[in-house]
């Protein structure tokens, strides 16, 4: 079996005036990949594409060797934390987290145990019976994280998963994420605006600008100068 988890083959997508350029990228199994880029550069579009959100793209996206659109949605085994969370507004926080297990017809006891465990990890045990409409931004974000993690998916796509959290909470979540990754050996792509976060968590870092993947580097080489000056500026390596 191949060790490539996610493969983009000359992938291109057009949305309105925005072009996601031909992107080729291989992400290995168990790799943690950070995606950096200015706001509006196409990070979310790229993650959504990997999840099989859009149909009319060029090139191909393979998940574990199969083209993403050839796998039925419910069998893609992706965990996705959306930038705006995408919680189910008619379910409590607890029901939101439990949703994936329920769909897998796990028994009631297993579900409630798992939900408590994850809620504990993410410090949201006290709001399990509230509805997403009534909780705080950070609480919503952690709910989305819990909902994605509970299935221990092969691939985790995280769109700025810690953006609404304070430093203390963030630190503890970093630790949990690393633990989970160690346990389940999943592939993770995450978007962040925080260079330290990228270096701390990721194996490799990709930098995207105006829809094009400008560079992919090992995390330790993140701050080495780039060919493109826009990228150097973006990383604070050079004034324009």
């Amino acid at each position: 079996m191949s060790s490539v988890s996610i493969e983009l083959r000359n992938f291109a997508l057009k949305k309105g005036d925005f072009h996601l350029g031909g992107i080729s990228l291989e992400i290995q199994k168990r790799e943690i990949f950070a995606l950096l880029g200015k706001t509006g550069s196409g990070k979310t579009l790229l993650l959504e594409s990997i999840a099989g959100y859009y149909k009319n793209f060029e090139g191909d996206i393979l998940l574990n060797g199969t083209s993403v659109l050839h796998t039925p949605l419910e069998e893609r085994k992706l965990g996705f934390v959306y930038q705006d969370y995408g919680l189910f507004p008619h379910m409590t926080i607890g029901q939101n987290i439990a949703y994936g297990l329920k769909m897998r017809k796990k028994n009631h006891k297993v579900i409630s145990e798992e939900v408590s465990r994850l809620a504990g990890l993410l410090s949201i045990s006290h709001i399990l019976s509230q509805y997403p409409g009534t909780v705080s931004g950070g609480e919503r974000q952690r709910t989305a994280l819990a909902r994605a993690l509970i299935l221990s998916p092969d691939i985790l796509l995280l769109d700025e998963p810690f953006s609404a959290l304070d430093t203390v909470t963030k630190q503890s979540l970093y630790r949990e994420l690393i633990k989970i990754h160690g346990e389940f050996k999943c592939t993770i792509i995450f978007v962040t605006h925080d260079f330290n976060e990228a270096q701390l968590l990721a194996d490799r870092v990709g930098i995207i600008d105006k829809g094009r993947l400008m560079a992919v580097r090992h995390k330790d080489a993140l701050f080495d100068l780039y060919e493109d000056d826009e990228v150097n500026f973006f990383l604070g390596l050079k004034e324009l």
Binding site: E74, F88, G133
Partner: protein
């Protein structure tokens, strides 16, 4: 300060309009209540009216259940599946909305008098001149309407949440039952009460398809019609009062139920 008065003016106008409508409706309904009240006891004691009450509630309930069972998947098919010519199908299904009930009844009479209707009758499903016909007429009158309301409700649901549910492992059926349907629960409830109300009052199509045989196919509206025909407006109004009571009870129940269908948010308590 200028704005403050604008505020009041608009609100006050709206409130006055609502109150005026309610007042006019109350006055209009009062004519019936006053006209029928002296006969209400007699009506309630009459075997015929009692039979009509039960028949009305029975047929309206059965036809409402069938409407919902058919309208929900049909609306799903018209919004979320890859069915071709969705818009055309939808327009076809909604066409009967503007036909007079008399015509709808005639349609049904012709259809159920055809070979198809005969075959059905041989299978034991008698429609013409039968209780089943009342149910059939109510379904035919209400289904286009129910499909329309359901479709509009499903259209408003954010399809993205269904995508998310799917990626969490939900099959299409599960996505529909756990996300789409609950998210338009209040619309479903509204649809049910409207369909039931209309079924309760339906008469035009029924008249043509099943006639009115006393103690057999006599619903409350039929009873009203017969009483008006014999000049018994008092008894007719008494029957109308009974319909009003049934309707008021069911409206109150759904109004209470609706309270629990809303999506909780911080906003519900906000000062506007």
């Amino acid at each position: 300060m200028k704005r403050k008065s604008t505020l009041n003016l608009f609100d006050i106008t709206a409130i006055i309009i609502a109150a005026a409508i309610a007042f006019f409706i109350i006055s209009a309904l009062l004519t019936i209540v006053l006209g029928g009240a002296p006969y209400l006891k007699k009506a309630l004691l009459s075997d015929e009216i009692r039979h009509a009450i039960l028949l009305s509630i029975y047929t309206a309930s059965v036809s409402t259940v069938i409407c919902v069972i058919l309208a929900v998947p049909a609306a799903y098919a018209l919004t979320r599946t890859s069915l071709p010519f969705k818009k055309t199908l939808q327009i076809i299904i909604e066409l009967p909305l503007s036909l007079p009930y008399l015509v709808l009844g005639l349609c049904l009479l012709i259809v159920f008098s055809s070979d198809f209707g005969r075959a059905l009758k041989d299978l034991g499903l008698k429609v013409v001149f039968d209780k089943n016909g009342i149910i059939m007429a109510q379904i035919f009158v209400n289904l286009p309407f129910a499909v329309h309301l359901m479709r509009a409700a499903i259209d408003l649901v954010d399809a993205r949440l269904e995508f998310i549910a799917g990626s969490l492992g939900a099959s299409r059926l599960e996505r529909f039952t756990t996300i789409t349907l609950p998210l338009c629960l209040s619309s479903v409830l509204m649809m049910v009460i409207l369909v039931w109300s209309r079924a309760l009052g339906e008469f035009g199509a029924t008249l043509m398809l099943v006639g009115v045989t006393r103690m057999k196919t006599e619903t409350l509206p039929a009873s009203i019609y017969l009483n008006i025909s014999t000049g018994d407006n008092g008894m007719a109004m008494a029957a109308a009062i009974i319909i009003l009571i049934i309707a008021a009870v069911s409206l109150t129940i759904t109004t209470v139920l609706r309270k629990y269908t809303g999506i909780k948010s911080r906003i519900s308590e906000v000062v506007l």
